[in-house]
Amino acid sequence: MSTEPAAIVGVGQTHHKSRRHDVSFGGLVREAAFRALDDAHMTFADIDAVVIGKAPDLFEGVMKPELYLSDALGAVGKPMFRVHTAGSVGGTTAIVAASHVQARKHERVLAVAFEKQSEGNAQFALGSGRGASLGAGGAFAPFIRAYIERSGAPEHIGWKVAVKDRQNALKNPYAHLRIPDISIEKVKESPMMWEPLRYLESCPSSDGACAVVLTNEAGGTAAAADGRPPAWIIGASSRSEPPSFPGRDPVRPAACVQAAWDVYEQAGITNPRQQIDMAELYVPFSWHEAIWLEGHDIAAAGEGWRMIDDDETALTGSFPVNASGGVLSSNPIGASGLLRFAEAANQVRGAAGEHQVAGAKVALAMAYGANSQYFSTWVVASSLQPFD
């Protein structure tokens, strides 16, 4: 029996900021949830199940916050699921929510992801509560050095991504970082944080939440008939690999490549560069754009940086990446993956506003987590058969 087609009919997010001192956890997730429900023309009463994701609990020091947030998200008496896949969790949350629809277990599912980084400290949490934390930048810097050495990419590639994503963020009213005078000079003169990564090549710490409403084929068709185009999920996959083993390649992780090709196979994609119109890739540090362009075979190995150098990934380029400003502009960690998935959905719904990619019909979203070992990927489209 084939799976039920699943559609995204509602997307919501908070304005992402350094500190949302005006709200509790519950207030934060409700803001995103209500925006998604409003967008879907639904209320809590219409929802069959809730799936929630966030980064490890050490970030805010609240263990199992989903237990208390079930009330806040109208989930009393309904199934509620918590997803744990570190930084990729927002993407995995979307995929778990979609699977409930695809399996015909539920018809309407609310997926919510959040982080309130201001309540704790990411460096503390990533260092397991000890001194001398490497932080994410410190942990990933060697991977990035390997990419640069292997590809022979010039150093300005990282700076270009940092500028491009911040320029895109100026067109996204929800983005956290707004740096109107961002420039190559500004990035390259910013402090070196984790050689070769500079301060402005790194993601911020944000408070924020994102939510999407997923529904079955009938729900998606009804929304379309009502003049509210849905985004159809035409492929979704999660893959993981152990954190360390001899021969592991963090520049082209096998789990990333396998998740991508699992999705492409489901979607009928044989030439991702040609068949996909834009991508929201999880890029917390500038060089990850090149790494993931290659990891998804959008560019050949060692060639991803050339697409950046040629401005092909700019908003007006032939293959825009992170039109929303990406993780480099807003990073409520747990929500960052769901934001990629939601922004891709909005692109194919034609609902991305000022950062809309003209004519986007097929969009790729991915998130990764932990030691570059968890990968979640989906492709959404404006119709169920976009290549017919």
Binding site: S24, D71, A132, S133, R150, W194
Partner: protein
């Protein structure tokens, strides 16, 4: 026998309370306990949303309850721990404050369990100095009249919007036997590795298993490793300050591929090697603590361990190998 080490994680989290819990906490500094209306119910402590429907509750619908109330259920705590609200035996009780529809969970201080019963009337004993925290009520005590413990420093000067939460949790972690063997060998300035009997890869760092062949590596697989190796990759971390941070200056962590081994030692500290001179291909040798020094007991994976404190330049010429930088695991 397995050895255990204790690890404590301590962090001062900062909570933002939102409009409803913030008002509740502000009320506590004024010696007032607030609930919130939801239909014909008064929910105490107040919630931002109806717990059944998720509907938004109006902060303007907050009402004062109590101060006295009735015990609906209780349990005696005969031996309080450090994290309990009182240092002597007490009860946790559900207290339905006068005017409330739901019970509040708090401590009741009666000295002995036989002084407490369902239906008992209790009132708050307030702390003299209140900050906007549920602990502003030390406990409930028998009777109808609230009390204040010590001089009353009055209500908060401004509305309470934030709360400090000083988290502390202590884990008791088992130390894998292989790490204890590595640590013991380090006293004699020996570096122990393990050879997989199936693939013959030599693992440094006390992994205890071969991830390729999925076999456990026991004492019989232990081998002595050379004390020299090559830096394959590295990170230089600019320390961000946070509670518990031990670093103030940029520091290096290097990947060391010991001669004759198949996996790197990840994120190793360096000794007498300035961050500006850390590079791929640099040759290093083990640096040892004096024999009588206390040694790190934490048994952590990664990083140096025991008397092995890091890696010092060996003085040998660099290794020129373009593939070295890819040796990350």
């Amino acid at each position: 026998m397995t050895r255990f080490v204790e690890n404590s994680i301590v962090f001062p989290y900062k909570r933002s309370l939102g409009p409803v819990i913030g008002a509740f906490m502000t009320g506590l500094t004024e010696q007032r306990i607030l609930g919130i209306r939801s239909g014909d119910q008064v929910i105490v402590p107040p919630l931002e949303w109806d717990p059944q429907t998720g509907a938004e509750l109006d902060p303007d619908g907050m009402v004062e309850v109590g101060p006295a109330g009735t015990v609906e259920s209780w349990t005696w705590v005969p031996a309080p721990s450090e994290q309990h609200p009182l240092g002597h035996p007490f009860a946790f009780a559900f207290i339905r404050l006068d005017g409330a529809s739901t019970p509040l969970l708090h401590a009741v201080d009666t000295g002995a369990p036989d002084a407490l019963r369902v239906g008992a009337r209790v009132a708050p004993r307030w702390r003299g100095s209140r900050v906007g925290h549920i602990g502003d009520i030390i406990a409930f005590v028998p009777g109808e009249q609230p009390e204040v413990d010590g001089p009353d420093s009055g209500p908060a000067e401004a509305p309470v919007t934030m709360m400090d939460y000083n988290a502390s949790i202590t884990y008791r972690n088992p130390v894998p036997p292989v790490l204890d063997r590595l640590r013991e060998a380090s006293r004699d300035q020996r570096i122990i590795g393990q050879r997989c009997p199936v693939c013959e890869r030599v693992y440094s760092g006390g992994r205890g298993y071969c991830p390729i062949d999925a076999v456990e590596l026991g004492e019989e697989q232990d081998v002595d490793l050379p004390h020299t190796g090559t830096i394959t990759n590295f990170t230089i971390v600019t320390p961000v300050q946070y509670p518990g941070q031990t670093e103030t200056e940029p520091f290096a962590r290097v990947f060391v591929l010991l001669d004759g081994t198949d996996v790197i030692l990840p994120y190793q500290p360096v000794v007498e090697l300035p961050v500006g001179e850390v590079r791929v291909g640099k040759r290093v040798a083990a640096a040892w603590a004096p024999p009588n020094d206390d040694i790190d007991d934490a048994g952590a994976m990664g990083g140096a361990y025991g008397h092995l404190i890091g890696w010092i330049p060996s003085g040998e010429p660099d290794v020129e190998d373009p593939d070295l930088v890819n040796r990350i695991f």
